[in-house]
Symmetry: C2
Subunit: 329 residues, 2 copies
DNA sequence: ATGAAAGCGCTAACAG
DNA sequence: CTGTTAGCGCTTTCAT
């Protein structure tokens, strides 16, 4: 027979060295025989380490989210952590509730893809001393580590491509200004046009309120209704781009013959749309994996300074872009 | 001042009635003031109720999975439970690891979309006395409650539609035989053809090994190579249908002119494919919600008999189906 | 190298 | 109605 503390030491890899090799073997054998499973809850209570983290997402149905979650989850599974998932459904209230629940379950850290300005839930997490890493979206202050795409490069790849095709009248359907992706891509849009010495007409920039097809549709209609000529649209993401395609079809404008469209994200099946969408590929898996790595780093050394990992996007040319037709405006 | 047990009783809705209303108020006020958050881990240790459940999925990147998870998660969030998510990546080993981890975290139940024949992880969960509910896929024994689509209706809706259009030579790209969706849909395919008094040619049924585009492609090529004439394909799901579309294009056969294709699931964006895919809509949200309800039921009354909730699918006609061309075979 | 004892934060039984 | 006591299963001093 052997006492519980010895057994505990034998079972735990970190303390195994403290105990006689032979005893270790005996304990392990008996444990296996009994189908003993250490109780993570009891351990967590004692050690304050639940071996779990929280992952908060705005909407699982947004196609960019599952690969991010997968990336996070794969890395943490490897590290022996389980993932508590919260789908905030774009509700601040539910977001807060999830953070509360995760805190109650003593998650050791939180990765969130929900960050937006004045994020109360984030404030709560920080106040409670919970390590937080941002993924996909960031916020402007430096309180967090984050894994984000290079928003500027996303837009400049799109514009460079269009300019290379000969476009000079390029419109932008911008993302929600409360998100860094929305705000930064919009800034980059204007900056990149300037770089190409193209005029940036404010009427050719319409801002969406959400990243949805409907909003893309509404914004594009507004663009068309403005009467300002344009031969290409850069949409802040693929969902908006889809809405653009619909609006063009409504107005009997052909894509890419009359208007080229570039999306962003390269979500699944964009290659199968009609026309197949030219877009900017972002590896959302890599985003998730990088966020996981950042949080693991932070758990390891809580004092380390915040870091931002920037994932580099790439242009994917398909059939929604073509040179502008001559003689049209 | 008031003692911890009184505070505990005041804080807990179930026992609140045991304590003076005025005291309750004082406790609540102080708790709020202190930002007190009950420690779910400690409570779990004492009560053996972790207020969490496990959700095991084969692959988050499969478009039918996120809505299922969302459905489950929404219902359980409402009930005050958190969700531990495990992405098994089609690996039995990882599946087992997740079940172990979830057991260690004392989840109160498990919902899994990974069920397949000889599922070791499921066996482990059952042996450990963990309530398990199956979603999307089922297994043939009666050990589990399950929320599944009406597989037979899925296929008969597809075939009825094709027969209505005039097709008589209908092929089937079947799903993996180890899954109930694969096996049952295949049986239903043969049964429904018989119902219509159509010959079921074994060479016009090809079985895939996984629900992927590639497998759909491979199976369709095999169908074409067989030399047997057919004017329509019923694919066991949309991913396989996508592969069919590709294989037809490879062989310079047009869809729907030469061959009609029907998928199953109505995953996101199927309406935007070229051609837009005729398919069978299954509400995966409802599947998830039903599974959640079944597990909650079970947690409430552990002795209740197993139930299977069957979600009714519906036909969505788009442009990948048309009457067969006359004079062709 | 192992045993003994205490305690993580909470709740449940038992008094009072 | 409220306080006291004990203990969930584990880890961690502290002794031995």
């Amino acid at each position: 027979m052997v006492h519980t503390s010895t057994a505990s030491r034998a079972l735990n890899g970190e303390t195994r060295s403290m105990v006689n090799a032979e005893t270790v073997e005996r304990v392990l054998a008996v444990a296996a025989h009994l189908g003993y499973r250490p109780n993570a809850v009891a351990r967590g209570l004692k050690t304050n380490r639940s071996q779990s983290i929280g992952v908060l997402v705005p909407d699982l149905l947004n196609p960019v989210i599952p690969p991010i979650v997968r990336g996070i989850e794969a890395r943490f599974a490897e590290a022996g952590f389980t993932v508590l998932l919260g789908n905030a459904s774009h509700s601040d209230e539910r977001e807060r509730l999830y953070v509360e629940a995760m805190l109650a379950h003593l998650v050791e850290g939180l990765i969130t893809a929900t960050a937006h300005e004045n994020d109360a839930a984030l404030g709560l997490a920080v106040k409670s001393g919970l390590p937080v890493v941002l993924v996909n979206r960031s916020v402007e202050d430096g309180r967090f580590s984050a894994a984000i795409p290079d928003d500027h490069l996303c837009i400049s790849l799109a514009i460079d491509h269009l300019v290379g095709l000969g476009h000079t009248q390029i419109a932008h359907v911008a993302g929600p200004p409360g998100t860094t992706t929305g705000a930064r891509r919009r800034e980059s849009f204007e900056a990149t046009l300037r770089k190409h010495r193209l005029e940036s007409d404010p009427r050719l920039i319409v801002t969406s309120n959400r990243y949805t097809e409907d909003e893309g549709h509404r914004c594009s209609r507004q663009l068309i209704a403005s009467g300002r000529p344009f031969t290409a649209i850069v949409a802040a993401n693929d969902m908006l781009a889809l809405g653009c395609l619909d609006a063009l079809a409504d107005s009997a404008m052909r894509c890419p013959d009359d208007v080229s469209v570039v999306g962003c994200n390269d979500m699944p099946f964009t290659d199968r749309f009609s026309p197949p969408l030219t877009t900017i590929n972002i590896s959302h898996d890599a985003l998730g994996a990088a966020a996981a790595e950042l949080l693991l780093e932070r758990l390891d050394s809580p004092q380390a300074p915040n870091r931002t990992v920037v994932i580099e996007p790439s242009l994917v040319v398909r059939e929604s872009t073509a040179p502008p037709l001559r003689g049209r405006s």
